[in-house]
């Protein structure tokens, strides 16, 4: 049995214009000690997925169907008390931007202590030792525990965030864009640190990012999401070396590959569909260079190919039609409105 099993999960938001189907029938598993990456553009539902897993959906968000089984226990059915017990103790998270993820009016120490006290009845000394340990682990000066967040630099804050997320030795860490807010050098440091820590502890990790490189570096297995659905899933190496879903291909081409220098960066034209009323058939069809009439009529089948689980009508043709030209920018510019409206992160 996997540690976390997500089955046909649906997460919707109520809005004035109707329900937004942010996550619409997603299934995957995370094994003990495994690193799973979730990749996708902004607004594809990956952050919503994380929030649903840990149970902090905003007021108008709700789980519309499916199951989240943590070590066999269905969290969607669990009482709020139980879920609260599991939070941080078993499933913790590293937030997108540590800048805003720490309460500005309390010291770092107070905030870590608060997490401890919410779950354990440890003695002061034990808590303190644990916090010291964590500070050492993430490479922060113990003396600065009593600083306020605004006294830390961005990198330090992210380390503090990591220290906080690890303090209760959770089984699963959800890292939501752990490095986005940092500069490149700092990104690298933090990623390394995360990897080290994760290897040292036996925790599983779910890394959510739009940055393919991050996933490639840290994850064992990857789930690619598009418009609330899974596009493709499989081992990290396979996904990046030879993806079968056109979207994955495009995404891969959109990010600099550390291994292949001098590569042109491309961007996928068009924008994700309106999730109030998602299109029938393949949701990527509108932006897909390979789309045919069947794509917008029928839901794509699940296809096992090359060690991957892929959802596409045209898996068979991808090697011949798309892969050779995936690096070219014009391949992805097939739609006329090429403006990126820069939708806000959800």
């Amino acid at each position: 049995m996997a540690m976390l099993e997500v089955e046909d999960l649906k997460v919707y938001y109520d809005t004035a214009e109707g329900a937004v189907k942010a996550v619409d029938g997603v299934s995957f598993e995370i094994e003990e000690g495994e690193n799973l990456g979730i990749v996708g553009e902004s607004g594809c539902g990956k952050s919503t997925l994380a929030k649903a897993l840990i149970g902090i959906l905003p007021q108008n968000g709700y789980i519309a169907g499916g199951e989240i089984r943590f070590r066999g226990e269905d969290l969607t059915e669990a009482p709020e008390r139980r879920r609260r017990e599991l939070r941080w103790d078993e499933i913790s998270m590293i937030a997108q931007s540590a800048m805003n993820a720490l309460d500005p009016v309390y010291t770092i120490r107070q905030q870590i202590l608060e997490a401890i006290e919410a779950h354990h009845n440890w003695s002061r000394t034990k808590s303190q030792e644990r916090i010291d340990e964590m500070f050492d682990l993430v490479g922060l000066d113990r003396e600065r525990q009593t600083d306020y967040p605004h006294q830390f630099s961005g990198g330090m804050r992210q380390r503090a965030m990591i220290a906080m997320s690890l303090v209760l030795e959770p089984s699963l860490i959800l890292a939501d864009e752990p490095t986005t807010a940092l500069d490149v050098i700092m990104q690298d440091q933090i990623l390394k640190r995360i990897n080290e820590i994760q290897e040292a502890s036996s925790a599983s990790m779910m890394v959510i990012t739009h940055d393919v490189a991050v996933v490639a570096e840290t994850c064992d297995r990857v789930v690619v999401m598009y418009a609330g659905e899974i596009a493709e899933e499989g081992p990290a190496a396979a996904i990046f070396d030879e993806p079968y879903h056109p979207y994955t291909l495009g995404l891969k081409s959109a990010f600099p590959n550390i291994r292949e220098a001098d590569q042109d960066l491309v961007s996928i034209g068009g924008h994700p569909p309106d999730l109030h009323d998602p299109p029938t058939g393949c949701r990527f069809a509108e932006r897909c260079p390979m789309a045919t009439e069947v794509c917008s009529r029928e839901d794509p089948p699940e296809v096992e190919v090359g060690g991957l689980r892929s959802y596409c009508h045209h898996v068979d043709d991808i090697d011949t039609q798309l892969r050779p030209v995936a690096d070219r920018a014009e391949t992805w510019q097939n739609t006329d409105a090429a403006d990126d409206r820069g939708l806000a992160d959800d």
């Binding site: 007021q59 599991l86 913790s92 500005p104 009016v105 306020y148």
Partner: protein, 325 residues
């Protein structure tokens, strides 16, 4: 260094503001229609008596001399004597100010406690029917003229049902036993209830709405999500984190709220026959009792300026990000 520096600078600013208010007031009262002496000096007094009275008020000196003396007296807290009763203005203030403070502060504290709490809840339960009805109630409280509410309350609960006293601070024939004893007496509390509630209802909307807006902003911050992810209880998040952060603008607003509070209490004191400084000010203004009007007004202005000052200092305590640059 930073903190001290800030304190010194802020204090200097306070003094300058007070000086400006005092100066404006001085000029204002010299602009009042009619010769001020005509109100204190009976035209038929002997020239000697008249002269003596005018001199005793220093009204015959050139304006700038009067001004300098006025400022000098202010600095030594000498606010002059009432034109009407000859009593020292400082004495009048000492008599009425505590009464106003009791009424205003109790109403203010109540309004802030209830208003902020409801603000937290309405912010937290955004979109609920509770939120909508609370917000509308708060708006109504701010919109209905407080003096009119006071009149209705007296009419309904006082005159018709007889559950509240109609006027004053103590029952008729109650010998004063000292301020503390009076304030803690049941009789006093009975008299306090109605004006306090009317005032609090009027004050409440402001902190409530500000707190709600501030809560909404705070609740959209990432750290709230983290707090929830940490498995904290709703209450802990709502109050320890969201409310604590949302408090800051409410605090600044408190200074402004004091200004409104004073306006409200001036009217309520009049309606409820509360022997307070606001009622005394109205009397003095109506009767052209300049020294008393000046004195009471200065005290009211002082309380606003002082509140601003305190709010600034408190802000520094409550928000660790303030650096006193």
């Amino acid at each position: 260094m930073g903190k001290l520096n800030f304190f010194v600078r802020r204090t200097a600013q306070l003094v300058v503001t007070l000086w400006a208010v005092a100066t404006a007031l001085f000029m204002l009262f010299r602009l009042m229609p009619g010769d001020p002496t005509s109100y204190i000096v009976s035209p038929q007094m002997t020239p000697e008596v008249r002269q003596r009275i005018i001199e005793s008020y220093g009204l015959n000196d050139p304006l700038w001399v009067q001004y300098l003396r006025y400022i000098e007296n202010l600095a030594t807290l000498d606010l002059g004597r009432s034109f009407n009763t000859n009593s020292e203005v400082s004495e009048i203030l000492a008599t009425y100010l505590p009464n106003t403070l009791v009424l205003m502060l109790s109403a203010f504290v109540l309004a802030y406690a209830v208003g902020v709490t409801l603000g937290v809840l309405t912010g937290w339960y955004r979109g609920s029917r509770f939120e909508k009805s609370t917000v509308v109630t708060a708006l109504v409280g701010r919109s209905i003229p407080s003096f009119w509410v006071g009149i209705l309350v007296i009419w309904v609960f006082g005159a018709t049902f007889g559950v509240i006293p109609l006027s004053g601070m103590t029952s008729i024939g109650t010998e004063p036993e000292g301020f503390v004893d009076m304030v803690t007496s049941l009789d006093f509390l009975h008299h306090l209830v109605a004006p306090m509630l009317v005032l609090a209802f009027y004050y409440m909307g402001y902190p409530l709405l500000i707190m709600r807006n501030s809560m909404l902003e705070t609740l959209s911050e990432d750290f709230i999500d983290i707090c929830r992810a940490k498995g904290l209880s709703e209450r802990a998040i709502m109050f320890r984190h969201a409310a604590r952060n949302a408090m800051l603008p409410v605090l600044t607003a408190a200074a402004i709220a004091v200004g409104f509070a004073i306006g409200g209490s001036v009217l309520i004191e009049t309606v409820f026959g509360w022997p307070g400084i606001g009622r005394e000010m109205i009397r003095a203004v109506m009767r052209r009792d300049y020294p008393v009007a000046q004195g009471t007004f200065l005290v009211l202005a002082l309380s606003v300026v002082l509140m601003n000052f305190v709010a600034d200092l408190l802000y520094g305590v409550l928000d660790p990000r303030v650096t006193y640059e």
